[in-house]
């Protein structure tokens, strides 16, 4: 009996492994059809603009508010540590580097996965369960081009911009706390920052990170919606998977990218 149970467990493990490989294969074929399939880019421009609004513009509020508070907290924590060493003038440099290199791209991606990613999955899953995707196919319109592609591109375009806004607002929030509240000299805050932040090493690497995260988060979100089981429970599970997979992918990729960009090897 115990042996049977062990065999069952091994079989279950193998089946789970196969399912994961199958899902990865499906997601790659899906991505191939979305990016390479037929359909003119011009025809989809109005769809892209509509999605840029719902994916990007409607995410602005949460990004701005989060960026502001995270910048303020960073300045507060940075000041309380640096003041012990008499280096509180470096707080601007610390806030800017932390936001541009790490927190801007990573926190934006996590917030984006929670707000826009889950909404994308739920919307596409609902279209699938109400046969709207099938209906498009039968009208002779490829849903991958008409529904998925504009959403994928909208996420890909808007997230790096949101990450930039997040960092800018965060730096401004940091200045409010450090300069206006804690009394750090304004010239030191901005001067140390401009002297130490390098465009290629810090700003560009941050942008590269946010572009990679944008692609991965939006891909996960649209694929989970398209591939979900077309029931209420299936949509709910797919939405959860989007947030979990996208968040884990962002954190894992962040380590790899940081090691490649800033690792000393």
């Amino acid at each position: 009996m115990a042996r049977q149970s062990l065999l069952d467990r091994i079989a279950l493990l193998g089946r789970s492994g196969l399912n994961i490989v199958q899902a990865m294969g499906r997601s790659l074929i899906f991505l191939w059809h979305v990016l390479i399939g037929r359909g003119g880019a011009g025809a989809g421009m109005h769809l892209l603009i509509k999605q840029l609004y719902s994916v990007g513009v409607l995410s602005l509020a949460i990004i701005i508010v989060s960026g502001l508070f995270i910048g303020m907290v960073l300045a507060l924590q940075g000041y309380s540590i640096l003041v012990d060493f008499g280096s509180e003038q470096a707080v601007g440099q610390m806030v800017a580097l932390t936001l541009l290199r790490e927190l801007g791209p990573v926190v934006t991606a996590l917030l984006f996965a929670g707000r826009a990613g889950s909404a994308l999955t739920a919307e596409i899953g609902n279209m699938k369960s109400t046969e709207q995707l099938s209906s498009l196919e039968m009208i002779g319109v490829d849903p991958l081009k008409y529904i998925i592609a504009p959403r994928l591109w909208a996420g890909f375009i808007s997230m790096p911009l949101l990450a930039a806004i997040f960092s800018v607002v965060g730096i401004w929030g940091g200045a409010m706390v450090a300069v206006d509240w804690l009394g750090v000299y304004e010239g030191s805050y901005w001067g140390n920052m401009t002297n130490s932040v390098d465009f290629y090493d810090d700003v560009l690497n941050g942008v590269i990170k946010s572009v990679v995260f944008a692609f991965v988060v939006t891909w996960v979100a649209v694929f989970q919606g398209y591939d979900c089981e077309p029931t209420s429970e299936g949509i709910s599970r797919a939405t959860t998977r989007t947030v979990v997979y996208a968040s884990l992918a962002v954190l894992g990729l962040d380590f790899i990218l940081t090691a490649l960009m800033f690792g000393d090897f």
């Binding site: 059809h33 399939g37 037929r38 109400t130 046969e131 709207q132 099938s134 209906s135 196919e137 039968m138 009208i139 002779g140 319109v141 490829d142 008409y146």
Partner: protein, 269 residues
């Protein structure tokens, strides 16, 4: 090899399975051009699967699906989308686009597949909506329509491009008697007026039999019987008779497979 001109759609030796369960096993069905053909059978027998095979939304493991001289399983993804312009499909749920109003739903196929000016699109949409009796609902959103109205709008959208073949997936499910009557009338009327080929997949016996020129009864992965509605009503085949007369127990058992009832009751003690 091409399909006989008398048939708009023909499935030849089609086998399709989900997991280990065979939905169709070497099935051949042909749909005569210009006629209304009904496909009937108990729930879960694969009627909707049959429609999806005909529209190439599913690919058979074996066999050929011929539509107007093209064998669908051999077509590329791009050719399939072109071929589907010959089809109109009325889905069970209507499948209207929820972010578009009635007018835009019906106009959608015209906007994506034609270069017609807006005035002409408007006229065509009005004509299609007039045909289904919903010209007055032109500005309503899908969530403002009743179930029957949704299906009629979906029907107007399905005929927007004047398709050659119209597929109906359970058109009468969940409809009140008036809405059923309206749909029965519309299916027959559109078929005769437009000269199209209609395939009605349904388990609503009376309605489907009343409009069909020819009927298939499917079950257990096979075609159990075919013929005119009268021929099937008088069939000697016990399975067909059970279905056509709505007998609760017979070759299709009332009880799902289960252990012996007495043993099951006593086994718990």
């Amino acid at each position: 090899m091409s399909v006989d001109d008398a048939f708009a759609v023909a499935l030849k030796g089609v086998t399709f399975q989900r997991g280990s369960r065979k939905i169709f096993d070497n099935v051949s069905i042909s749909f005569p051009r210009g006629k209304v053909t009904g496909v009937m059978g108990p729930s879960g027998c694969g009627k909707t699967t049959l429609l999806r095979l005909m529209a190439a939304q599913l690919k058979p493991e074996k066999g050929e699906v011929w539509v107007n001289g093209q064998n669908l399983p051999t077509l590329s993804r791009s050719d399939l989308f072109d071929m589907r312009k010959q089809f109109g499909v009325l889905f069970q749920s209507g499948a209207l686009f929820t972010d578009l109003n009635v007018f835009e739903n019906v106009a959608f196929p015209l906007r994506v597949h034609t270069e017609l000016p807006d005035e002409m699109i408007r006229d065509i949409v009005l004509m299609k909506l007039q045909a289904v009796g919903l010209r007055g609902a032109i500005d309503l959103m899908p969530d403002e329509l009743s179930g029957g109205m949704k299906r009629r709008v979906a029907l107007a959208r399905a005929i927007a491009l004047d398709p050659e073949i119209l597929l109906y997936d359970e058109p009468f499910v969940g409809q009140d008697p008036i809405a059923k009557g309206v749909l029965v009338r519309l299916i027959r009327l559109l078929n005769d007026a437009l000269g199209i080929t209609s395939v009605v997949v349904s388990h609503d016996l009376a309605e489907t039999a009343s409009i069909s020129d020819y009927l298939y009864v499917v079950g257990d992965g096979q075609v159990l019987g075919q013929g005119s509605p009268d021929e099937l009503m008088n069939s000697d085949n016990p399975r067909i008779r059970q279905f056509m007369q709505g007998i609760p127990d017979g070759p299709v058992p009332f009880h799902f497979d289960a252990p012996d009832y007495r043993d099951d009751l006593l086994g718990g003690r």
